[in-house]
């Protein structure tokens, strides 16, 4: 995979998106023990490049469905940071008005359609949106992010079959981080090559290394071109490592369940660090630009937390307000 295939603006934007996701995640982790965010968080540290490279290939109107580990998807698609941090603080100004919490992010203005905390729940929804696009011939595509464990749910197979039969414009993105909570993929699946499953439904598949931004970007691009071409769905499996525990900050019990060789291999290869070095080596970025980008992000994050802290809580008398549409 060759960096020269990608234009400079894109490369820089990818850097900024990935760094922003990273920094937001680290800040949440840092402050989580203060208990101001009274909602479970599932950090995507280590997996940032997947959301970034997929979304870089999407238009603002294209649809994305996310899952419980959805902060990166939301930010990469362009979701409003203030509204996200406010949602983590369960405030009325949150993107879900404090009704959803960390696992239910939404920003319809950028096509981020919402996320389900039922593992695999968002998959058929994304296919349904693609069906709608096919009916309306609006040229948009639909993308759904889900984990390796979500691929064990029957509904993925039902969804793939229907998308294939109807040639719907949907991209299935499986983020394989090898774990479901404490459970390793090999205890749950005999064939660990998840792309074997979509192949069985006639869906073209791609595999990307989620540590390698260039690889992930170019593979995403190919997959998305296929989907946009109107020939039907595609499937991409992106491997990456979940740097932290399943939920919350840190990973207290990591020695009790991680495979240590795997841990070494993956933790020693930070997607952001690797990418930064690559960009510096290729003179795409300078240390100075990097500093500027990152300090802007820091400012923005500070503002978002201020915004969240100052925002009002939902009103108790509005408990039932959004039950009906």
């Amino acid at each position: 995979m060759d960096i020269t295939e990608i234009d400079k603006a894109t490369l820089i934007n990818l850097y900024s998106v990935i760094s922003r996701i990273r920094k937001v995640q680290l800040r949440i982790e840092e402050l989580y023990h203060q208990d101001n965010m009274k909602t479970p968080v599932h950090l995507c540290l280590g997996q940032e490049a997947i959301a970034a490279t997929i979304c870089e290939n999407l238009t603002k109107q294209d649809y994305v469905f996310s899952n419980h580990r959805g902060h990166g998807h939301y930010l990469a698609k362009g979701g409003d940071l203030n509204a996200m941090i406010a949602e983590l603080h369960c405030k009325e100004t949150g993107c879900s008005k404090g009704r959803g919490g960390s696992m239910h992010l939404i920003d319809l203005s950028v096509g981020l359609m919402g996320s389900s905390s039922i593992v695999s729940g968002g998959i058929p929804l994304a296919v349904g949106v693609a069906f709608s696009s096919a009916c309306k011939k609006d040229g948009l595509i639909s993308v759904v992010f889900f984990g390796d464990a979500a691929s064990e749910e029957g509904v993925l197979h039902e969804s793939m079959n229907f998308a294939a039969v109807k040639k719907l414009p949907v991209l299935f993105v499986c983020e394989n981080n090898f774990y479901s909570v404490f459970s390793h993929q090999t205890t749950r699946q005999l064939v660990t090559d998840i792309t074997a499953r979509p192949k069985a439904f006639g869906i073209p598949t791609y595999k990307a290394d989620g540590r390698d931004v260039i690889d992930a970007y170019l593979k995403s691009k190919q997959a998305i071109e296929v989907v946009r071409g109107g020939q039907g769905p595609a499937f991409i499996e992106c491997k990456a490592y979940r740097w932290r525990g399943h939920a919350g900050a840190g990973d207290e019990l990591k020695d009790k369940y991680r495979k240590l060789d795997e841990w070494d291999e993956w933790m020693n290869c930070c997607p952001l660090q690797k990418y930064e070095t690559l960009l510096l080596d290729n003179n795409i970025l300078t240390d100075k630009i990097i500093d500027t980008v990152n300090s802007q992000i820091d400012v923005e994050i500070n503002k978002a937390f201020d915004f969240a802290n100052e925002s009002p809580l939902p009103r108790k008398d509005e408990l039932e307000k959004y039950l009906y549409g």
Binding site: G114, G121, L125, E158
Partner: protein, 346 residues
């Protein structure tokens, strides 16, 4: 062979709230088909899917030939993937479509409970009202001909428990079309349950599209001795029971709930204010079902009017048996209603 035909052709006396209107008598299934047809014509976001909706028998006639009129993109058969297809319908609804998803039996909805309960019912709330799910899920309660435990359930009691859903159970052709229109027009997921034994019942059905508001019951018969709240097919049984009881001097009031979510509590309480007695008749298990809810609601809000215990007429603590003799023992009907009335009146 007989069984499908047998039940569809079963022509029992239905009743007609506009008996004086001579023209435009349609059967329940004709009314449903007309409503779907007109809804498809009216709004291009409406589409109809389900196993067999485009087949020659067309879902008991409800969808027959609609695919020829509207094309196989708007009226189409589905793979056997109830949970996936429900989620797909929900997703399309989020994106602005108005899917109508038909099932032969409520039993098959059990495969789709995750998408119905965890997703469709919650999507609006969970995101602070930003998305809506205008989706209609239909199913037909089977009955008779030894279809047994896995093909004869009603199960609407389950749906009534879930906030965010609408639950609609029409008993006449007129209501079927009007409630269908309202269901398709509603911005929330609607569970629309029909009873197969109603399909050949006919009544006056206006030609134009009309809508009956969700949440409004109707008094099917006025009386002062006892109130029967009846659901779906049990309205028919209650009407028959009332006729029989009339001979013995009992004056029965019958309320057709029409929708269970929302439930028209007012019409029920108003009636009980007058009669002081309540029987709830349902096509489902009584335990923790719709009849329990209606009874509990009255035991709270209508207690002061109540003169006698509230009786529930519904399914006993058994699965639906295969054998027709056991079916006879299983299904409550006119006799059970009659004896319940006699138990609490006088």
């Amino acid at each position: 062979m007989p069984w499908t035909k047998f039940l569809i052709d079963k022509t029992e006396p239905g009743f007609d709230e506009h008996a004086d209107q001579e023209d435009r008598k349609l059967t329940f299934s004709e009314a449903m088909r007309e409503g779907l047809d007109q809804s498809l014509a009216r709004d291009e976001n409406v589409y109809v899917m389900g196993q067999g909706v485009d087949d020659p028998s067309g879902m008991f006639g409800i969808t027959v030939d609609l695919h020829k009129q509207y094309g196989s993109e708007r009226v189409f058969d589905t793979p056997l993937s109830e949970n996936g297809l429900t989620g797909i319908a929900v997703g399309s609804a989020i994106a602005g479509m108005r899917p109508v998803y038909l099932h032969n039996r409520p039993d098959f909805l059990m495969l789709a409970m995750d998408q119905i309960i965890n997703h469709a019912a919650k999507w609006s709330y969970m995101f602070g009202g930003q998305s809506t799910v205008p989706l209609v899920i239909m199913a037909v309660i089977g009955r008779g001909w030894g279809s047994a435990a896995q093909h004869s359930q009603s199960l609407h009691g389950l749906f009534m428990h879930i906030p965010g859903l609408r639950l609609v159970m029409p008993s006449t052709a007129y209501d079927a079309k009007g409630l269908l229109t309202a269901s398709i027009a509603d911005n929330n997921p609607v569970i629309f349950i029909m009873h197969r034994w109603l399909f050949k019942h006919s009544s006056f059905v206006p030609e134009e599209l009309y809508s009956i508001p969700l949440g409004k019951g109707v008094v099917r018969r006025k009386g002062k001795d006892v109130t029967i709240v009846a659901i779906s097919y049990m309205v028919i049984e209650a009407m028959r029971a009332a006729e029989e009881l009339e001979k013995d001097g009992y004056d029965v009031e019958i309320i057709d709930s029409r929708t269970l979510l929302p439930l028209d509590e007012e019409i029920i309480l108003d009636s009980i204010k007058k009669t002081g007695r309540l029987i709830v008749a349902d096509t489902d298990w009584v335990t923790a079902g719709a009849s329990a809810e209606i009874s509990a609601m009255v035991a709270d809000k209508g207690f002061e009017y109540l003169k006698m215990p509230i009786k529930r007429v519904g399914w006993p603590n058994s699965h639906v048996p295969g054998s027709y003799v056991l079916e006879e023992a299983f299904y409550p009907g006119v006799d059970d209603i009659v004896s319940s009335v006699k138990e609490i009146v006088k």
